[in-house]
Amino acid sequence: MAAAMAHRGPDDEGFHDDEAVSLGFRRLAVIDLETGQQPIVLPDGRASIVLNGEIYNYRELRAELEAKGHRFRSRGDVEVVLRLFAEDGIACLERLNGMFALALWDARGRVLHLARDRFGIKPLYWCREGGAVAFASELGALLAGGFPARPELDRAELRHYLALGFASPGGALLAGVRSVPPGQVLSLAADSGERLVPYWRPPEPGARSPEDAPERLAATLAEAVERQLVADVPVGVFLSGGVDSSTVSVLASRAVSGPLRTFSVGFVGPGAVSELGAARLVADRLGSDHHELVMDPRTVAADLEQILDGLDTPLADCTAIPTWYMSRLARDTVTVALSGEGADEVFGGYERQRFDVAFDLLGAPGRRLVPLAVRLLGRTPSPRLRERARMAPSLGRQLHWGRIFTAGGIDALAASPIADEAAMLAPYADLAVRWQALARTDPVNGRLTADRESFLPGDLLPKVDRMSMAHSLEVRVPFLDNEVADLVLPLPGRLKATLRRDKVLLRQAVAEIVPETTATRRKQAFATPIGPWLRGELREAAADLLAVDAVRRRGLFEPAAVERLLAEHLAGERDHGNALWTLMVLEHWQRRLDDTPPWSRP
């Protein structure tokens, strides 16, 4: 299993076995290069740990533990967590400020605890089969260990994937495999089954807004960036030129001695829009050691299989491609990179959030008039817009803005019925209730909460994790630092996004520290040109993965429906880039699954 994850940790591996549990670890040496091996076992053997990620406040916690008499054998963060657990039990998780997926084995109480950080930055899958339980950071590792013994696609998750491009929270596209939800701990005991309990709940948004919020935010962000720069290896920053990554770059640049390393990626070729100028502007101001990579779609075609393999699970977000290249670029010079992910979900950076709020304000009769209003403006409302205008305010409608295939689209595509549209939202039941409550009191925060608990852990964070780990690069996300989240999450929604402006508070806070054009820069408008690529350099790959025979053999979709999608796209009449990519990613993953021989355990 560990060998299947060598890309996550090329530097070392370690194992710990006792009669009940086997812990394996692939190490990417980032902190404590000499003595940071894992798994770590307490001297008296009563507990052991494997942890993927970083605990940024480990030094304060370590000081506390030393004062209580603990003697450390390593200099790093993981032993701190183990000893904290020994002291406080599972409650210790709440004190960790970092990104992590961990397994703690309480040998004495014979309980295995699996936990993830608050936002789902690091992945953790698990599978129970035949009296045994396996866990791993990637599906590939589980499969290598023979879990599940007969791998197959989870059809309920398939619908979720076709609709939104990722698996549901807590789920996975492999039947029988689940994911530990962010901010929760799963405790598995031989006799008393499984308990899944949140160790952290997000703070309720309030109405209070301190006057000095921008200043406090600026200071908190600066501290978070500084905290997350701690490493015994070189650290750099992903810089796209937008306000998020520029903020991280500027703050990082102040905290390091010597020029900061920054990285940007762009594409050439049909459909590619270069916004490298924006990143260059910031890099020039900072005097950073700026690295740029401009990719040709021919190279993308050549690398496609590798990129798809790196995804590990179907993820339809084609921005995985630039992330893969950015990670590869960064890995040449650094081992760790900071990135701006999370800002849009914490500060309100997505247009669709504001549109959905605007929809609310119109009220039901107003919403029904939206298609008419659009027509009066001389435009034709798209079917998707018309569908949305009929929906009442709900989590379902908010998620609808990001749909790849509509409900009707999935049904038209499917060869036999694929699960149930209504049941698709079942994993979000708790969130849906909170959403409704917030819709009345603070709709903006309602949208942000939903994004933080769906899109962020489902799409964005796994994408960054897989694509960076494919190159053995560790990516850290300062916007999701505990202190930043603790400060911003309780603030009222109007500080974050208004109908006309996004990330208001963030832009205010950084107005003094980033160039003005950057502080006011709108979100990157231009998507990864998957549409043009599929008509050009990736045409062959599309023809191969979506061939009529292949679709028929797979038996999931109507070959004619897929063929029509592809034909319309190639003719240039429509842009079905994202839909086609979604299907291609799925098919590729299934072929890899086919290649996995049924495992027979001794």
Binding site: G271, A272, R379, P381, S382, W401, A525, G536
Partner: protein
């Protein structure tokens, strides 16, 4: 926010007779319309030269008319026209979304115009101001895109209409070979620079002839040159009797902004080309495969003679050349590309 079809305004420089406008702005129209958009194309009043006074008045009227149209459109594509700063600002204020499209080094005065520092600075200023007004800048090649720093930029080559430029099998009677060049009088000096090389080629192979297709007859040279006046309806046919296309180009900042159209036309007809490796020519032509590079007089002579003397080589390279155009430089591809970019911009809310 996928909202459907829109009103698109195209503001151009020159009308259908002006090559750039015809091959880019006008060419986009059917592709935009196929997406359901309503396209309004505005050609400057009085494309013919006018008396100075009337010209200024015409320009003012044009401006008011254009800005009015812009305010009523969902998206404006400005082809090639640059505006001074105040006008550019007005455009940005008045238009909901602006795409600036250009295929020449319009940030420089053209070679025919005065090159004094004031003129050079003015051209650059106007270009920068126009770019600033745009939400997206589309350039004809990499060199041009590099001139755009502060705005998102995309590259769309000038495409060749494959339905008009179809390869014709040529059976050459005798051992003659025609080396062709197509272009406007302004560019003729580029061809003329090779006079010495051409002489040597003819001396080595007396059956060689040259063909020049232009708007005006070239000056008499002591060379076997046939001339045909360029007309749009014969834009492909005029090259029917040509065996090799030539695109000599001096390496200057202006020429680096050229979009290799001369070469691409010939390649689309299945002709091998010999070109100066300047700017986009280096990308469009693969030496030894679809054509050849030549810099010095000796190289021109060598490469031309190799093609003159080897019909099979011409045939092979010609086929490869056609394949390149089909793959990367067809009008179809470029038109769809612009439609995609326009749709992307339209799917986001406007500035006002």
């Amino acid at each position: 926010m996928a909202v459907g079809p829109a009103r698109v305004l195209l503001l151009t420089v020159g009308d259908r007779d002006s090559p750039g406008t015809r091959l880019r702005a006008f060419a986009y129209v059917p592709f935009l319309e196929s997406r359901g958009h309503r396209v309004e194309l505005r050609v400057p009043l009085g494309s013919q030269p006018n008396r100075l006074r009337r010209r200024r008045l015409l320009r003012a009227v044009e401006l008011i008319r254009d800005l009015g149209a812009a305010s009523r459109s969902d998206l404006v594509i400005v082809y090639r026209k640059t505006f001074p700063d105040p006008t550019a600002r007005w455009l940005r204020r008045v238009a909901r979304r602006v795409v600036y499209d250009f295929d020449d080094a319009v940030y420089l005065p053209s070679p025919a115009e005065p090159q004094d520092p004031t003129a050079v600075a003015r051209y650059r200023r106007n270009f920068d101001a126009t770019v600033q007004a745009a939400d997206l800048v589309v350039a004809g090649n990499r060199e041009l895109a590099a001139a755009v720093e502060s705005r998102p930029s995309a590259i769309l080559p000038t495409g060749v209409d494959l339905s008009v430029f179809t390869p014709i099998s040529r059976s050459r009677r005798g051992s003659g070979c025609v080396l062709g060049w197509i272009g406007t009088t302004g560019n003729l000096p580029q061809w003329q620079r090779l006079e010495a090389a051409f002489r040597r080629v003819v001396a080595a192979e007396p059956e060689v002839r040259f063909k020049v297709i232009s708007d005006r007859r070239p000056p008499e040279l002591d060379l076997p040159v046939d001339y045909e006046r360029f007309t749009i309806d014969r834009e492909a046919a005029c090259l029917e009797d040509v065996d090799v296309g030539l695109m000599p180009l001096e390496d200057t900042p202006w020429n680096r902004g050229k979009c290799s159209y001369k070469a691409l036309q010939c390649m689309a007809l299945g002709l091998p080309v010999v070109v100066s490796p300047v700017g986009m020519n280096r990308e469009a032509v693969e030496p030894g495969v679809s054509g050849a590079f030549a810099v010095t007089e000796d190289e021109w002579v060598d490469e031309l003679l190799r093609l003159v003397r080897d019909p099979e080589r011409r045939e092979r390279m010609g086929r490869a050349a056609r394949a390149v155009v089909e793959r990367s430089y067809s009008l179809q591809r470029v038109g769809v590309g612009m439609a995609d970019l326009v749709d992307q911009l339209l799917s986001r809310p406007a500035r006002r």
